[in-house]
């Protein structure tokens, strides 16, 4: 939505995108395929890409054909992302990639990946030795995604191995050695969206439906308190979208919203169970409310992990507060 018009985007503002995203999520619309591309990858290409990269990728994103994966985490580099070891070596005809990415959502469906690789191997190059690459997953050889089943039983994320993957010279995204700054900016897109609290709003509304006007005063008070949270988080997310709109860096603010948002999301299933005597169910039984509850309960642990764990976000907040 916010992608430039000359490449087929709508050239809308971050705030306008926010409004649409909010409505699609509140309605529980299926958005998985183009989600990452629309939220972050497309913006990265638009901001940092070469003219040729923009021309070839952005139209595929706006037409909904491109599905992006985020290649950051590795088996031994989770929170400590700057310690990634997967290598990209400069060779005569481009870049030679070797290594393993893990937890890569959707990599088994993705047409593209923006991935973080080490391009400087000297021991003191930790943050400075990283670069991002724009990878066409369908044409390049040597990339093998292996789906990992998550606790819902579905294969949603992957281990992705790179064995002597040869990329053309123009696969570099942005500047060589600038990968850490680029990734940090990308994470701000990832952390700021309304999905933080909206993925659970459906549960709140289903809960109000099943209570059907018969809630006790104390139950009403509890639901009211969560609604107040939802409204607060919405306003906070909106202000982050506003900062993005003005080209400001909202990393700190986004971390605060994500931290508060994931507590809200993880608390709601417990509250729902406190108020309504109905079990959470899988899709084999139960009414809508029970299925929404069951589904959310299984996903809840991931809310405070993906896109940076709670502890790491708190570290960012602490740094913002000047205490570390």
């Amino acid at each position: 939505m916010t992608l430039p018009k000359e490449y087929g985007g709508h050239g809308r503002s971050a705030l306008e995108r926010y409004v649409v995203v909010e409505e699609t999520l509140a309605a529980g619309a299926p958005v998985g395929y183009h989600w990452v591309a629309d939220r972050q990858s497309g913006l990265m290409v638009a901001r940092l890409g070469t003219e040729a990269q923009k021309k070839s990728i952005i139209p595929a994103i706006t037409s909904g054909e491109a599905c992006f994966a985020i290649g950051m985490s590795e088996p031994n580099s989770g929170s400590d992302l700057a310690s990634v070891k997967s290598k990209a070596e400069k060779v005569a005809d481009g870049w030679l990639l070797n290594g393993t990415k893990i937890w890569t959502s959707n990599a088994h469906n993705a047409t593209h990946m923006i991935a973080l690789f080490r391009t400087d191997f000297s021991p003191d190059a930790k943050h400075k030795g990283l670069s991002q690459f724009l990878i066409d997953m369908k044409t390049v050889r040597g990339i093998t995604p292996r789906p990992i089943r998550d606790l819902t039983g579905r294969g949603h994320f992957n281990e992705v191995s790179f064995v002597d993957v040869l990329l053309p010279p123009d696969a570099l995204l942005g500047r060589e050695g600038d990968g850490w700054n680029q990734v940090t900016a990308e994470l701000a897109y990832e952390r700021s969206g309304p999905e933080r609290y909206l993925s659970c709003f459906l549960l709140l509304s289903e809960l109000i439906k099943v209570l059907d006007g018969k809630a006790s005063p104390s139950a009403l008070a509890k639901i009211g308190a969560e609604l107040a949270w939802a409204a607060t988080l919405r306003n906070m997310s909106l202000s982050v979208a506003g900062m993005l709109n003005e080209g400001k860096d909202p990393s700190l603010q986004a971390s605060v919203v994500k931290d508060l948002g994931c507590h809200f999301e993880q608390r709601l299933p417990g509250l729902a169970q406190e108020l309504v005597a109905m079990e959470p169910t899988l899709s084999d039984s139960g009414i809508d409310y029970q299925q929404v509850l069951g589904n959310l309960m299984l996903l809840a642990p991931s809310f405070s992990l993906r896109g940076g764990t709670l502890e790491i976000l708190r570290g960012i907040i602490a740094r913002g507060l000047g205490v570390r």
Partner: protein, 348 residues
Amino acid sequence: MNEAQTILEDSISRLFADSVDRELLARMEHEPWDAGLWEACVELGLPQVMVSESRDGMGGSWVEGFIVARACGRYAVPLPVVEQMLAGHLADHAGLAVPEGVAGLLPEIIPGSAIAGSTVSMTQRRVPWGRRADWFLGLGADGELLIIGKDGSRCEAETNLAREPRDQVVLQASPILARGASGLPAEAVRWLGALLRSAQIAGAAAACLEMSVKYTSDREQFGRKLSQFQAIQHHLAEIAGQMAAVDTMALEACVALDQRGLAATGRDARFELAAAKCRASEAVEPLTRLSHQVHGAIGFTYEYDLQFLTRRLWSWRAEFGAHGEWGEYLGSIAQREGGDGIWAYMTA
């Protein structure tokens, strides 16, 4: 715990540690039965733990029952051991012999209107392992205990979040095989089921703590063990505290039940039972949230064992009533006894 109880706990733990592993747990999600493990549980006498010695049981108290249930939670045992144990205890309590085979514990009260002569017709929801039951057991509205044959029944397979069978059982003129006054209130299955789930939650909580401590002591980030980060230490401390609180209250409820019984009048063990399930169900949220948190993404995978515990915890929190229901019960007692009376009531 006395010596006999320690021996009981050790032998159960040994059985489950040797036989319940990831492979079994994963397989049981799709074919939820394992004849070998069930036989081993029967051989160890687990279903008979709270059946009197005169009926070839172990004659154990609720503390022994707690030990069995906690171990079942600790190892995520994917069989209806605790349900079978409760069914046996209830039958015994009503002075009836416990039939052979797998019991289907009916969670809902059987109303008088469902009983016609010597048959029962009604639908019972969320019956644990209903599909495997050889006979059913439930309580009537006046506390009469009914043992019901399978004839005329049918079963629709449903599951909880851990894919443990929670089936819908439709009884249609199914024969009453035996009946007798239980001396318990009609809601006893819910009360005692809640207690067993509390003990299972205590066991699963202990396993979550153990895994979390071990994982964060092995895994390194930023060149240090995760367990060396203060934030992680706080999480581990909170998990440990929650676990200990659940364990304490569940055991206390068992002791109270042995002493005061479940009568539905007077100062029986209902206060402690409600407090145990309220505490346990509420603790599921921080326990699962923090255990997953310190594990990072690996804990969110199917391949890693944590999820066998957490998906059970999420289900057990609701089964036989979540913290809201039991909290409301406790609140109503507080209201009745009043500010001046509640301390005396609680400590009576």
